[in-house]
């Protein structure tokens, strides 16, 4: 799939809509309050790898902003920003994985999962709790626990759902150079 500016715009819109639907309606509650097992990060990882950093950031920011808005209870900016950072980091990996050309083998899966684990740790163990403390003056050990639990469950869901999505997409996509020109015998 060739990336064009218009396609990126549409991918952001549809990606944010998917992020919203998964995050708002498909959340599985977790034992720690105010966090739930979010499967939308698997989708976000996949979309960011496919469409690049700009799409990654904006899908996360718009999707997460709309989820918070739809609950009607104030926008938790620190976590919205952390989601955006995750989208950005995964988008940067898109240079390493040629998912858009239908290539996603064992190496792709390894790169994808290592980077998603690193990105999640940066976002939920550093960015989100630090912003919670700076912006909302919440107690440190509480926000780090929330971040840690959220981060761990996001790593698990991204590993399963993100990888499966990438594999399924690559399988459905014709490989680059899979068509060969037939030389006519003379």
């Amino acid at each position: 799939m060739k990336r064009t500016p218009v396609k990126t715009i549409v991918a952001i819109g549809i990606g944010a809509a998917l992020f919203f639907v998964l995050g708002r309606f498909v959340a599985i509650p977790s034992p720690v309050p105010n966090t739930s097992i979010c499967i939308q990060y698997g989708l976000l990882g996949f979309m960011a790898v496919l469409f690049g950093p700009l799409a990654g950031v904006l899908i996360a920011l718009i999707g997460h902003f709309l989820i918070d808005l739809s609950w009607g209870g104030g926008i938790w900016w620190s976590w919205v920003i952390a989601s955006g950072v995750f989208g950005l980091l995964m988008g940067l990996v898109s240079k390493k994985i040629k998912l858009a050309d239908g290539e996603f083998g064992g190496k792709g899966a390894a790169v994808f999962n290592v980077s998603q684990v690193v990105a999640h740790i940066i976002c939920w163990a550093v960015v989100a709790p630090v912003l919670d403390i700076v912006m909302y003056a919440e107690p440190a050990n509480k926000v780090f626990l929330q971040g840690l639990v959220g981060g761990l469950s996001n790593i698990v869901t991204t590993a399963i759902i993100g990888t499966l999505l990438c594999v399924a997409y690559a399988a459905a996509k014709p490989k680059k150079g899979s068509l060969k020109e037939e030389k006519e015998e003379k």
Partner: protein, 276 residues
């Protein structure tokens, strides 16, 4: 299917404000309520938000579901803070006035209760305003508003696309989910977590592959119509600013300024009544 962005069309002064104004006010207001822990300003914002809620003619029962959800969220957040940091208030305010002890480190202090009061006030000051924004802004006007406040129109258009396709994707998710359940996948609590995540992917994969086709179709249609060629675009739902819009924005800017000024005057984000 019920519209998730519960726009309620009733004539009121709040509805008459343009979407751009309401978006600016929402941002200014939520930053004002976020940045300060000054109880006096928070009480003022809370009272004012209740008045505005009344003026908007949105009824409590229109939003009762969201309110009950937020109440649970607020209580849980407060309980969690107390469990993890029962002395957080003491650290913040620098004094300790114990009231009674629950054993160990769990001594209830006036400072801690005051910190929780401020947290609760923050919720009360913000929730009505967010609800007002959600209930009185026509979703179609939202993208035009973003563009108005300086967001590039291509990005604003993405937001518009997201709002437009949320109901479609919701419907499609539901259909695929039913089809897959008919074929025997199990999503209920009876399954363990890993199995449930796998079943979730059995729904997600068709949903996402069909969404990729959708992206292709929409972007082709947009490209054929020359989307993105010009530097600017016009919006059908855009309305010109009226005097009331400027007043509303100026007031909200004033609240944010007051919040910042109080933070400077208090020498920090906390207004401390314990040392006088």
């Amino acid at each position: 299917m019920r519209n998730i962005f519960n726009y309620i069309d009733r004539p009121s002064p709040i509805h008459r404000l343009t979407g751009a104004t309401k978006l600016v006010c929402l941002l200014l207001w939520s930053f004002a309520a976020m940045s300060t822990y000054d109880t006096r300003l928070l009480v003022f914002l809370t009272l004012l938000s209740f008045v505005l809620f009344y003026v908007s003619k949105i009824r409590v029962r229109d939003v009762s579901f969201l309110l009950s959800f937020m109440a649970v969220f607020m209580v849980l957040n407060n309980v969690l803070i107390f469990v993890f940091a029962p002395q957080h208030g003491v650290t913040l305010y620098g004094t300790s006035h114990p009231i009674f002890s629950l054993g160990g480190n769990y001594v209830v202090t006036k400072e801690q209760l005051f910190y929780h009061l401020n947290l609760v006030l923050k919720y009360f000051a913000t929730i009505p305003i967010v609800l007002l924004f959600v209930c009185t802004t026509n979703p179609s006007e939202f993208a035009a508003s973003l563009n108005r406040i300086g967001v590039k129109y291509t990005i604003a258009y993405s937001v518009s696309l997201a709002l437009r396709y949320i109901p479609d994707i919701q419907k499609e998710y539901h259909e695929i989910s039913q089809a897959q359940q008919a074929r025997g996948i199990e999503m209920s609590r009876k399954q363990n977590l890993i199995k449930r995540l796998k079943s979730a992917s059995a729904i997600l994969i068709p949903l996402i592959l069909s969404s990729m086709d959708r992206i292709e179709v929409i972007s082709n249609a947009m490209e054929l119509r020359g989307f993105g060629k010009e530097k600017k675009r016009t919006w059908y739902m855009e309305r010109p600013f009226a005097p009331a819009d400027f007043v509303a924005m100026a007031l909200c800017a004033l609240f944010l300024a007051a919040s910042i000024a109080l933070n400077i005057a208090n020498g920090g984000r906390f207004w401390n009544p314990f040392v006088s």
